[in-house]
Symmetry: C2
Subunit: 517 residues, 2 copies
């Protein structure tokens, strides 16, 4: 079986999977275990399975009593090399951690690679050591959130909530966790700062709060996968199916990363060789690997970079889902670099070697598919491009002709501290455009003064009230924003399509129907 | 006559003008003077005309013996308030300076406002004091340049020359002059630096070369009007009809602006109030007003901003057309702020009040026309957006089927020091995309190392060689670039159309025909 055949197989199976989902077959009903009973395949004991842990010897795994040779699949695993952690052992504890696998098409892909059965004794042993749920201590969340994945928890608010307030309350702020929420005792918490000439620096939460001045920064934060569902609708991508609400705007309070780095010994000597700052979370997978990533040193050390080690969100302690007791806030930069539950900072000449820096969170050409993607060919996403979306009205809404005017609302933001200077709105599918009213504060409040050039970290909310176009039975409403580098959003999604569904910043479109009286 | 009627009149006249140009009527043959002979209009003497120099008293001007009340036209003048300089006097010296007026439709607009004849005695006086040509001492230029305007001189090279060398030779570097090229004696030249606590600083060319370290920066420079002709083809705009070659990439050598500002007394005190740095050229109009503009102080004073007071271009003294003996090079920022023949620098709390900062070089919504444009509503263009264009093959080229492969070449660049990370090329009108090969040096040479984040000032050249698509009789070739903030170019021009035809960074498209053997 060559790679192409396998890929075609995956696509076929994904299509099958969709059909059976439509027929309400629950993924947990999938036929793997029962199939196993009447299997004519050989029986292996666990010692045999554990010998297959490399590409040379083959990569074998077990799942519910079946033995699978997934060597050929490794290169195609959307999660990259992480899959090798399971080599020679059971998939169950990993799938409990990465619950995105709890889908029927995943089981169908797996079934293709079945090579045997696990001996009955070894099956029993595995059942006895069933993984306990690492997500059991995750915090409670508000039921209004639209859950994209339960474990790890990933959810966003209904879009109309976003434009209700300039500062997004933490309850409604999108949650994007890669792993279980760690339980951190603030009294014994320590932040390690490494790689600087003075040796390792260890700071308590109290140290961070009392030894350095407190700074506050109002900054929007956006997931690279925001608006992925629209991209997925046009052509299938891999990833959580985010709507337009994987973005929020908060007032962050904390210590400047710059101040901590200077206190830890950063100086002209270090500047000669240091190029990156690594952040490591306290959230860990079953092998003990923490979530990690890095940003360029220039952003971290610049006075104008405004990078915070934040202990407050909207004037209160960070909530558990947002990184209690400490997270990084890297204004203008993709959410993935704003590491939560921050445990360790390392100054380095190299980028972080983590999966999330080297293999994920990168953008590729629309012509690149899983068979030819080369992660080294694209830079890690840091600053995000110009973005805007409509939050009101909702797609599919019905408007009465008697209302005469229509109010359209939304948000707009650009990465890198570039200020949004204009939002154009069309009520007729892009034929004519009107300029929306921008605001950078809550209605009725004095708005904040314009930020210095290159430091516009917060979003802008916008609104347009215009006469309902006469005659039209259906309106295609579009918004597009412009930042002060005069970057604009592209017209359509397909030319920026990429296999992970990242960076969708095409014009946002919603359709509404006009009901005659 | 209200504004709307006047505007409609202009558009109608512009259409008429095009038709008559097609019939080869020379603008200088336009009928104004002869019409005057049989005019039933009143006769004024010059003293009467000079009384009309304000909107209250009316704005009158004379042209070839006619008297015109242009009060209503002032608000619509594409060149803004500059027109008021001519109030109460003769247009001829201004039109000699701004030779863009040497077009028939301009005379036809003017004819609408005729209110009388100048007395025969005063006409004779005016002829005696005819303006001498202020462009007489402009330098010689290479005939290969495509001239968009002779006076002031504005010209670009054929696009295929751009991708012949990574560094653009000065002879082929686009020329964009707003006024005549000033004659500057390098021995007596002085740069004035004003607005700092130490008082005025006056620096000779020798001072600049010997009292400060020399820096070199390879940076592309692009006119905001680059690619205007494509925008004009879709819907008419005002401005010089640039193709894709109002851009070039040069190695600039000189003194850092930052070093000069620090030497002149810039410090924390000044940083508290200073927000902008004004630049004034030695190129002046008939009233003595110099070309001028400003940039934010943060860009000017930052070590990473790399702003130069350049006295060298590609290793030689600046050529007269490029600002001899000194110009500002503001990497990553629109050409208009890179003031040539620099005479004066002023530190200020305010932006430059000049026409080119306040009224021109701004971007507006596609829905904004001359009747409702508010210059205050848009920020002055500083950093430019992501851009790319095809230089080879030329639009309309014919390719032999027997060649089997097709090579497409072009340039890509983004403002603000954002590095171009990918160029996608389509040979089928955007249905499929291939990734082009990028280079940041000349072929065969060792390429320059990757610049630090945020300091990618130079362009990249790119190339794709691909099989000629079978069957196709015509190919629509498209390119689009991505920078490291993952900003992309918009698909089409109309949604970014603006009345001055600035900032056209839509996908660049050329069509070629395939000839069967």
């Amino acid at each position: 079986m060559n790679l192409l055949t396998v890929l075609q197989g995956i696509h076929r199976l994904q299509d099958l999977s969709k059909e059976s989902t439509e027929q309400s077959t629950s993924p947990s009903d999938a036929g793997l275990p029962s199939e196993a009973k009447s299997s004519p395949l050989p029986v292996f004991n666990y010692d045999e399975v554990t010998k297959h842990r490399s590409l040379e010897d083959g990569i074998w795994v077990t799942y519910k009593g079946g033995v699978y040779d997934i060597t050929e699949f490794v290169a195609m695993h959307p999660g990259g090399n992480k899959i090798l952690l399971a080599a020679g052992g059971a998939l169950e504890p990993f799938w409990a951690l990465y619950a995105v696998h709890d889908q029927e098409y995943v089981l169908e892909i797996l079934s293709q690679y079945k090579v045997g059965e696990l001996s009955v004794e070894d099956q029993k042993k595995q059942e006895d050591t069933k993984a306990s749920d690492p997500y059991a201590s995750d915090p409670e969340r508000h039921p209004v959130l639209r859950v994209n994945c339960k474990k790890p928890f990933n959810a966003e608010p209904p879009s109309e909530i976003l434009t209700e307030s300039y500062i997004t309350p933490h309850v409604f702020f999108f949650k994007r966790n890669h792993l279980p929420v760690p339980q951190v005792d603030p009294a014994s918490y320590r932040l390690q700062v490494e790689g600087l000439p003075g040796g390792e620096l260890s700071l308590s939460l109290e140290d961070l709060k009392t030894q350095f001045p407190k700074h506050t920064v109002t900054a929007a934060m956006q997931c690279a996968g925001n608006r992925r569902s629209d991209m997925n609708n046009i052509k299938e991508v891999q990833g959580l199916n985010w709507g337009v609400s994987a973005i929020g705007n908060a007032k962050w309070g904390g210590t400047r990363l710059r101040d901590v780095l200077l206190a830890a010994g950063f100086g002209p000597e270090v500047a000669n060789w240091a190029r990156h700052v690594h952040f490591e979370g306290l959230d860990k997978d079953v092998t003990g690997t923490a979530y990690g990533t890095s940003i360029p040193i220039s952003k971290a050390i610049s006075e104008e970079g405004d990078v915070l080690l934040a202990y407050e969100m909207n004037g209160e302690d960070l909530p558990p889902d947002h990184g209690f007791p400490l997270r990084v806030v890297v204004p203008g930069v993709v959410g993935a670099r704003n590491v939560k539950w921050l445990g360790r900072i390392v100054i380095s000449a190299e980028e972080s070697a983590s999966h999330w820096q080297q293999h994920d969170y990168k953008g590729f050409s629309p012509g690149t598919d899983w068979s030819k993607v080369d992660p080294k060919s694209a830079p890690a996403i840091q600053e995000l491009p110009i973005q805007s979306a409509i939050t009101v009205p909702a797609d599919g809404a019905v408007i009465d002709r008697s209302e005469e005017t229509l109010t359209v609302k939304g948000y707009a933001w650009s990465g890198g501290g570039r200020e949004v200077v204009r939002v154009d709105v069309s009520l007729d599918g892009g034929n004519t455009w009107q300029v929306a009213q921008l605001r950078n504060g809550d209605e009725g409040e004095t708005t904040e003064p314009s930020p210095p050039p290159g430091r516009a970290w917060a979003w802008k909310l916008w609104e347009l009230t215009a006469p309902l176009p006469p005659q039209a039975e259906e309106l295609e409403i579009i918004c597009k924003a412009v930042d002060n580098s005069y970057n604009v959003q592209p017209d359509t999604i397909l030319p920026i399509w990429n296999l992970r569904g990242l960076l969708n910043n095409a014009w946002h479109r919603v359709k509404v129907r006009v009901r005659e009286d």
